[in-house]
Amino acid sequence: MANVFPKWVNTIPIKVIVAIILTVTAVVCGVTYYATPKYTRVGYAPIQPVAFSHALHAGQLDIDCRYCHTFVDRSEHSNVPAANVCMTCHSMVRKDDPMLAPVKTSYESGEPIPWVRVHKTPDYVYFNHSVHVNRGVSCVGCHGRVDEMDVVTHKESFSMSFCLDCHRNPEEHVRPPEEVYNLDWERPDTEDFKKEAVGFVHDWKVNPPQSCSGCHR
């Protein structure tokens, strides 16, 4: 009896299997790499209505974060300043600069400047700024070196594992409370400091929740 199938058909099953493995691998790698917050959120740097430079104000001039984000240590929300805060200096400094026209208009009319929000958690996440900054978690831990940014850029993934990494091992991330707003502080890599951090976590009862309802409501 003559062969029903030609000889090349013999390799089809192995080729199909290889093709499926390659495709699945590519899709899994692609989704892991591209469909996660490390890709989707990191690097987001929207164009703001006023080209405000944190590098100039917080970096070069060394103005404290709380000069503008005044209630970050008392409120769950780190407030974006109203135009009167800008005008404290800019009623004198570069007062006729066209770049500052929206600030001036906002100050005179009371209409807010439409700043574009950069850092957004999902709405079922209840993040409280004050408990973090008052217990040795610095701004820089989540927002990066804002004092070196001309345009505010999303630096961290803000994924759930990003939060949990710190919630599970707070002693590896906390710093002395007086250094919270000092963004270029570097954690000393010494045994003494590690002991100090463990002591701080104990003494200040730093007990970050790991249960769902700690952050999700």
């Binding site: 080729k15 290889v18 093709a19 390659l22 495709t23 590519a26 692609g30 790499y33 591209y34 469909a35 996660t36 917050p37 490390k38 890709y39 989707t40 959120r41 990191v42 690097g43 987001y44 740097a45 929207p46 164009i47 001039l61 060394d62 103005i63 404290d64 709380r66 000069y67 005044t70 008392r74 409120s75 769950e76 929300h77 407030n79 974006v80 109203a82 009167n84 805060v85 005008m87 404290t88 200096c89 009623s91 004198m92 400094v93 570069r94 807010p112 957004k120 999902p122 709405d123 079922y124 850029t153 999303h154």
Partner: protein, 217 residues
């Protein structure tokens, strides 16, 4: 198989060249891949709201109302027997006596902790113009901000209430800070300003012998 491999490699190269790498800067809002309840009808601070005519979530303080307590003690405010001891206390809230004259002496209990609090708030809000030592040489001076030097004879002889009043309502080119600094904190700053004034005009004769030895005088 060759055709498949060609398409496969082409698809990967195309995907990487279109999507780029993690952390690349983008002005487009982050893509929410699985937006499961990420955005809800929830009122967030400083956010937009179509319900109100001005489009804001945050409501303005209605004209002619007096605040009972503040946001930070709302639990106490809503308790049954809450009495606001500071309500209507012009001495504490405005630095002025009932007849409108300035308060001569700080009306709160003075302590080392209060000076420390005053220093913290002074370094945040005042030092950028008035300088860390209160001599008017802040970082904004090269930009044309003229700030008072606390060490001249006039400011050393003013009443405590005057300094409080200037922080509260501003003076000349200085804008008011009453929206950012609470009356408690303003009195703490007044105390710290007094300490700064003393520091620049102290007399070694007034120290005890022990203190002089410590300072090597």
């Amino acid at each position: 198989m060759r055709i498949f491999l060609a398409i496969y490699v082409f698809a990967i190269i195309a995907a990487v060249s279109i999507l780029g790498f993690r952390g690349s800067i983008s002005t487009k809002p982050p893509l929410e891949v699985f937006p499961d309840m990420d955005r809800q009808a929830r009122y967030k601070p400083q956010a937009e709201n179509d319900f109100f005519a001005d489009g804001r979530n945050d409501r303005q303080v209605p004209a002619g109302t007096v605040a009972r307590g503040d946001y930070f003690n709302q639990v106490e405010v809503f308790s049954e027997d809450f009495e606001d001891p500071r309500l209507g206390d012009t001495v504490f809230n405005q630095g002025k006596n009932a007849d409108g004259s300035l308060v001569k002496k700080i009306p709160v209990e003075v302590s080392y902790e209060l000076i420390q609090q005053g220093k913290e708030k002074y370094d945040i809000f005042c030092s950028s113009c008035h300088g860390a030592a209160g001599d008017g040489n802040g970082v904004t001076k090269p930009y044309g901000v003229l700030a008072a030097n606390y060490h001249d004879a006039r400011l050393r002889s003013v009443d405590d209430g005057h300094i409080f009043d200037v922080i509260t309502n501003g003076k000349g080119l200085m804008l008011p800070f009453n929206d950012r600094i609470s009356p408690e904190e303003r009195w703490a700053i007044v105390l710290y300003v007094r300490a700064l004034q003393l520091s620049q005009n102290a007399n070694a004769e007034e120290l005890t012998a022990v203190q002089r030895t410590e300072l090597g005088l």
